[in-house]
Symmetry: C2
Subunit: 152 residues, 2 copies
C-alpha cells in the first residue's frame, strides 16, 4: 500500500470533508429562512453590491453560470431576488435583491457568530485564522490559475 494513496495523507479529502461538515453546520440556521448554503453565498455577494449581472456573481463565487442560473431562478421563485434584462447590454441578466432579500440580512445576523464559535478549537483561533486563510487563498489562487490561466 503506497503512502500516497492513504486517505490520511490527502489534503483534498480534508478540504472536502471540512467543507461538507461546515456547510452542514450552517444548515439548521439557514433552513429557518428556507435557504441553502450556496443561496446564502449569493446573498452575501448581493449584500456587498446589489444589482449585478449573472456573470459577476458567478465569477465572485468562482462557479460556472450553469450552476448559478438555476440557483438564482430558485431564489427568484422564493421572492428573494429579481432577474431583469440588462439595459446597456441585452445579453445580461441583472440580479437585484427584493425587500425580502435585503431583510434576510437582519434575520441572519447571528449566523456568522454561531458558526464561528462552532469552528473554534485548539489549533484554530483568532490568532491562527489569518495563517489558515493565507494558505487556503494561495491554494485557491494557484488552482484557479491552472484551470483558468489569467492574462499578463
Amino acid at each position: 500500500m503506497k503512502e500516497q494513496f492513504k486517505l490520511d495523507n490527502q489534503l483534498c479529502f480534508r478540504l472536502y470533508t471540512a467543507s461538507r461538515l461546515l456547510t452542514q453546520a450552517y444548515h439548521p440556521l439557514l433552513s429557518e429562512q428556507g435557504l441553502t448554503y450556496p443561496q446564502y453565498l449569493v446573498l452575501m455577494v448581493l449584500w456587498e453590491k446589489d444589482a449585478q449581472p449573472v456573470n459577476d456573481i458567478a465569477k465572485r463565487l468562482m462557479l460556472e453560470t450553469n450552476t448559478v442560473t438555476p440557483l438564482l431562478k430558485r431564489m427568484e421563485l422564493q421572492g428573494i431576488l429579481t432577474r431583469s434584462k440588462g439595459l446597456a447590454d441585452a445579453r445580461q441578466v441583472i440580479v437585484s435583491l427584493t425587500e425580502k432579500g435585503q431583510n434576510l440580512q437582519k434575520l441572519l445576523t447571528d449566523v456568522p457568530i454561531k458558526v464561528g464559535s462552532a469552528v473554534l478549537c485548539k489549533s484554530v483561533t483568532p490568532d491562527t485564522v489569518p495563517a489558515l486563510f493565507g494558505m487556503l487563498d494561495d491554494i485557491i489562487a494557484k488552482l484557479d490559475n491552472q484551470v483558468n490561466p489569467h492574462e499578463t
Copy 2:
C-alpha cells in the same frame, strides 16, 4: 454592510472553493480511467482494506450511506467492485474490489504526485502542510462531534 457577511472573511467559502477547485484538478487525471473524485475516495478506502461493509466505507469517508450506496452501485456497473450479502450479518453488504479495481492503483500511480505539485505554493510547502492538516483535522473533529456527538 457588516464585516461578518463579507465573503472575504468567510472560512466556509474558502474551504468550499478550495475543495471544488482541487477536485477539479483531479478531474482530467481520474476521467482517463472513467472515475470521479468520490469514486477515487472509495478506491482509496478499499485499497487500504478490501472487503468492507457499506457502513464502514461511509464512516471512513464521513458520508451517509444514502450517498455511498448509489456511488458503489455505479462502480459495480463499471466492474470495479462487487457487492455481496454479508455471511455473518445478512443485513450487511460487503464491498470487494475486482481485479480491475485493484489494477487501478497502478494506473493511477502518479495522480497524487501530479496533484500534489499543482497545490504547492508559497505558503503551502512540505514544511507547512502538517500545520494545515492539523487545523483541518481539528475543524473536522469539532464539527463531527457537534453533528454526531460521540460517546464517552
